[in-house]
């Protein structure tokens, strides 16, 4: 139990911060309730998937700067193929774009492994490639998401006093992330991903195949990216070929969530909670009608302060 506490201290702190922010929100805007929560969660969905994807790659010791561009590719592909699609075809499209995400991610990873260039260089280059691909598929916003599938992430899970507080999008997010993350965390592949990020030489000597593990990490990130791209199309109803502001927000949430840039440390829960913290800070500042330019300054300051505080606490903890 103590072990769990000390290991997850960071995440617990973030959860505490999140609760505090929700209370602050309620104080600023007493009418904040189920519908407010629903819209925050739905808006956070693409950010959360982008963050999860980034977290996996960063834990493996890499970084993927093409996350937002790949989301655009998936989003427009889904919108084009879903226009007027029936039930079977819709599900086929979902499966196809998940596979597309995995393939794009695997290609990123394979290029990093084959060229031996830094991850940041390869994925920056690929972000331009994917941006171009998205525009080739759809020149201007268009296509359509299958309406009944959109319902999956819209509104509360059921009418009623308590359950109506839980938005469907939150359930979808939790279920999908657990489907990807829990088996991974328990598998040898998951350990290998942590291992290559932690110490590639030691991992190699422990018999881990560095190249294959790296490609797998990027591919898994690609699947999460595809979920993110789908969620954009489902929540807006059309495909948007220009990448959204997901890349830097995802890196920010990953860092705030306790994943160490450089690899080997951290999990998925922290970054996801961090996504919600950053979204709600933004909401609160909007509710307080703070100048949007000042908003970004406040967000940046919060990140720097929280991460620095974490560093200081970690050093203290080690000395104690």
């Amino acid at each position: 139990m103590m072990r769990g506490l000390s290991r997850n201290g960071w995440v617990l702190g973030l959860v505490g911060l999140l609760i505090l922010l929700l209370i602050v929100t309620k104080l600023i805007q007493p009418s904040f309730g189920a519908s407010g929560l629903e819209s925050v969660t739905r808006a956070a969905l693409p950010f959360a998937f982008a963050t999860a994807a980034t977290a996996v790659v960063v834990i493996a010791g890499g970084i993927d700067l093409s996350v937002a561009a790949m989301m655009a590719v998936v989003g427009v592909t889904a919108a084009v193929l879903m226009e007027g699609a029936g039930v079977t075809q819709t599900w086929l499209v979902v499966l196809a774009v998940l596979a597309l995400g995995a393939a794009m991610g695997a290609l990123n990873g394979a290029l990093v492994v084959a060229t031996r260039l830094p991850d940041i260089v390869v994925t920056l280059a690929m972000s331009f490639v994917w941006e171009g691909v998205a525009l080739l598929i759809l020149k201007a916003p268009g296509g359509a998401a299958t309406p009944w599938l959109r319902e999956v992430i819209l509104g509360p899970i059921a009418p009623g006093p308590v359950v109506s507080l839980i938005p469907k999008s939150l359930v979808v997010l939790a279920v999908l992330l657990m489907l990807v993350w829990l088996p991974l965390r328990r598998s040898r592949l998951g350990l290998s991903i942590y291992a290559i990020g932690s110490d590639a030489t030691a991992a190699f000597r422990s018999g881990v195949s560095i190249g294959a593990t790296r490609v797998a990490a990027y591919a898994i990130a690609g699947v999460l990216v595809a979920m993110g791209g789908l969620s954009v199309t489902l929540s807006t109803g059309i495909g948007e070929p220009i990448p959204g502001p997901y890349l830097l927000a995802a890196v920010a949430a990953v860092v705030l969530g306790g994943v160490v840039l450089g690899g080997g440390r951290g999990g998925l829960l922290g970054p996801i909670v961090a996504v919600f913290i950053l979204r709600i800070v933004r909401l609160d500042l909007t509710l307080l009608s703070v100048d949007p330019n000042v908003t970004t300054i406040v967000e940046g300051t919060i990140m720097a302060v929280v991460v620095m505080l974490g560093g200081i606490l970690a050093v203290r903890g080690r000395r104690a």
């Binding site: 072990r3 040898r188 350990l191 290998s192 942590y194 291992a195 990020g197 932690s198 110490d199 030489t201 030691a202 991992a203 190699f204 000597r205 422990s206 018999g207 881990v208 195949s209 080997g264 440390r265 080690r318």
Partner: protein, 499 residues
């Protein structure tokens, strides 16, 4: 099984070669290990031990030669493949994953639990913390866990690289006992160590490498140490290079330029004391990892000492930053040239950097004066400046000359040279020795660590030998021929002294 089969080598490497670019790491290395044998793999620094170990365990591919395991030709493409082939190494640096806990590390490596726990108990760590990240554990514990993990996979051939280097004495005893039991149970061990005492206690045979080739294979018997030392040195036993030197050495009385007392740093540097006088070149000799890196880092202000004092001209010093050491007149030329140079800038900028970087020189750079000083240094060192636009395009020897030239241009009081001639050609080496002597003649003091023992007589006045983080011998350079230094470096003359 017939006697012949029992006596057949389980591992037989013949004529193994490996080059890295232009550098030949192994020319003709051979190693044969029979069942139930503990074989010591010996060689001076740079003889090719680590390269051979990496090839045997699949971390590197060989260019030539054969490797037969149990009589069958083998090529291991990865450490995992070598492991499955029954060859399990424990490297000098722990190969457990620092951010995973022990439980996860065992799962990652597919280590069977029961045998692992059996071995950690045998090795004296009965209750290892299973769910602390590995990075929180002390080095000695890590090495034991690494060994227990290797033993748990029941290797046919266990490869131990400097296994006892970071261990306290009681753990060393347990390790030696366990290794001996392995051999008695019919398994084989390749044992790399700088400690003759352990080798004579533990090993059946010693295979000696020199310059990438196997030069001897001897049974361990009383008096074998001398033979091994002779083999490790080889032709280098020829008379030392003659050097014209002033009849009177530098004055070794009065206040020394640099006085070090009881210096300790990190886990390796325990207690080192010496005096370095004005106009003196003091050699430092040590086997790999005896604390010399920590010594130079502490003197250059890269690392805070854990104890002891550093005095310059009688003034106690405490360095918080390399700039403090430079301000006190101590300048380091690191062993790794890449650490010292701005590789994509010009020769001129590289030489001028320490001069320009002084806070007092903020503001415009006096280009003409700088140019004159730089030109003088280039001339004096005979740096080949055909590729002077970018330092990284120079040859290794010329790069090294640039790292020294930068300190000469600014005028130097005390120069700390860490293996300055590693990997450079003979002609350039000679130029560097001459330069070091020149500097000393002009009153500079030089601390000169080298992994090539012949350089002591070529460049130094006196030499301190460090073993296990302590000074074990101080010699006049003229008396310090290679066999004597080699014996001292292996701790064979066990007397603790002060220089």
């Amino acid at each position: 099984m017939t006697d012949a089969a029992a006596d057949a080598p389980i591992l037989d490497a013949q004529g193994v070669s490996k080059r890295f670019g232009a550098v030949v790491a192994l020319r003709d290395a051979s190693l044969r290990v029979r069942r139930g044998e503990v074989v010591a793999l010996m060689g001076a620094n740079g003889a090719g031990k680590s390269t051979l170990v990496k090839i045997l365990t699949g971390a590197l591919r060989r260019d030539g030669g054969t490797l037969r395991i149990r009589g069958r030709d083998q090529s291991f493409g990865s450490p995992g493949a070598a492991r499955r082939g029954g060859l399990v190494p424990v490297y000098q640096e722990p190969s457990l994953i620092p951010d995973l806990d022990l439980d996860e590390n065992l799962r990652l490596g597919g280590t069977p639990r029961e045998p692992f726990h059996h071995w950690v108990r045998e090795l004296g760590i009965p209750d290892p913390p299973m769910d602390d990240p590995i990075r929180h554990l002390p080095l000695a514990t890590l090495r034991i866990l690494d060994l227990a993990r290797a033993l748990a996979s029941e290797p046919d051939v266990l490869l131990l690289d400097e296994m006892t280097a970071a261990l306290p004495t009681d753990l060393v005893e347990r390790v030696l006992k366990v290794v001996r039991e392995q051999a008695d149970a019919g398994r084989s061990v390749i044992y790399i160590s700088h400690r003759f005492a352990e080798i004579s206690q533990l090993c059946d045979r010693a295979t000696v490498l020199r310059d990438g080739a196997t030069v001897g294979d001897l049974p361990i018997e009383p008096g074998v140490e001398e033979k091994i030392v002779t083999l490790m040195l080889g032709a280098a036993l020829s008379p030392a290079q003659a050097r014209a030197r002033e009849a009177t050495g530098p004055a070794t009385t009065g206040t020394p330029r640099l006085r070090v007392r009881g210096l300790a740093a990190g886990t390796k540097l325990a207690d080192v004391s010496f005096d370095l006088h004005k106009g003196e070149v003091l050699g430092v000799v040590a086997l790999e990892g005896q604390g010399q890196d920590e010594l130079f880092d502490a003197l250059a202000g890269f690392r805070r000492p854990g104890g002891g004092t550093i005095e310059i001209d009688g003034q106690p010093q405490s360095f918080r930053h390399p700039a403090d050491a430079i301000a006190a007149g101590l300048t380091l030329v690191p062993g790794d040239r890449a650490e010292a140079l701005l590789s994509s800038r010009s020769v001129r900028e590289n030489i001028a950097v320490p001069y320009v970087a002084r806070p007092r020189h903020w503001g415009p750079i006096a280009m003409r004066r700088e140019g004159a000083q730089v030109a003088q240094a280039i001339e004096r060192l005979q740096i080949d400046t055909r590729a002077q636009g970018e330092v990284r395009r120079l040859s290794g020897g010329n790069q090294q000359k640039v790292t020294i030239a930068r300190w000469i241009a600014g005028g130097v009081q005390t120069l700390l040279l860490f293996d300055p001639t590693r990997g450079i050609d003979v002609r350039t080496k000679r130029q560097i020795y001459a330069l070091v002597r020149d500097l000393a003649a002009q009153g500079a003091s030089v601390l000169f660590y080298t992994s090539e023992l012949g350089e002591i007589q070529a460049a130094c006045d006196r030499v301190v030998v460090i073993f296990n983080g302590r000074v074990v011998d101080v010699l006049d350079a003229q008396d310090a021929d290679e066999p004597m230094l080699m014996r001292a470096a292996y701790g064979l003359t066990a007397r603790e002294v002060r220089a």
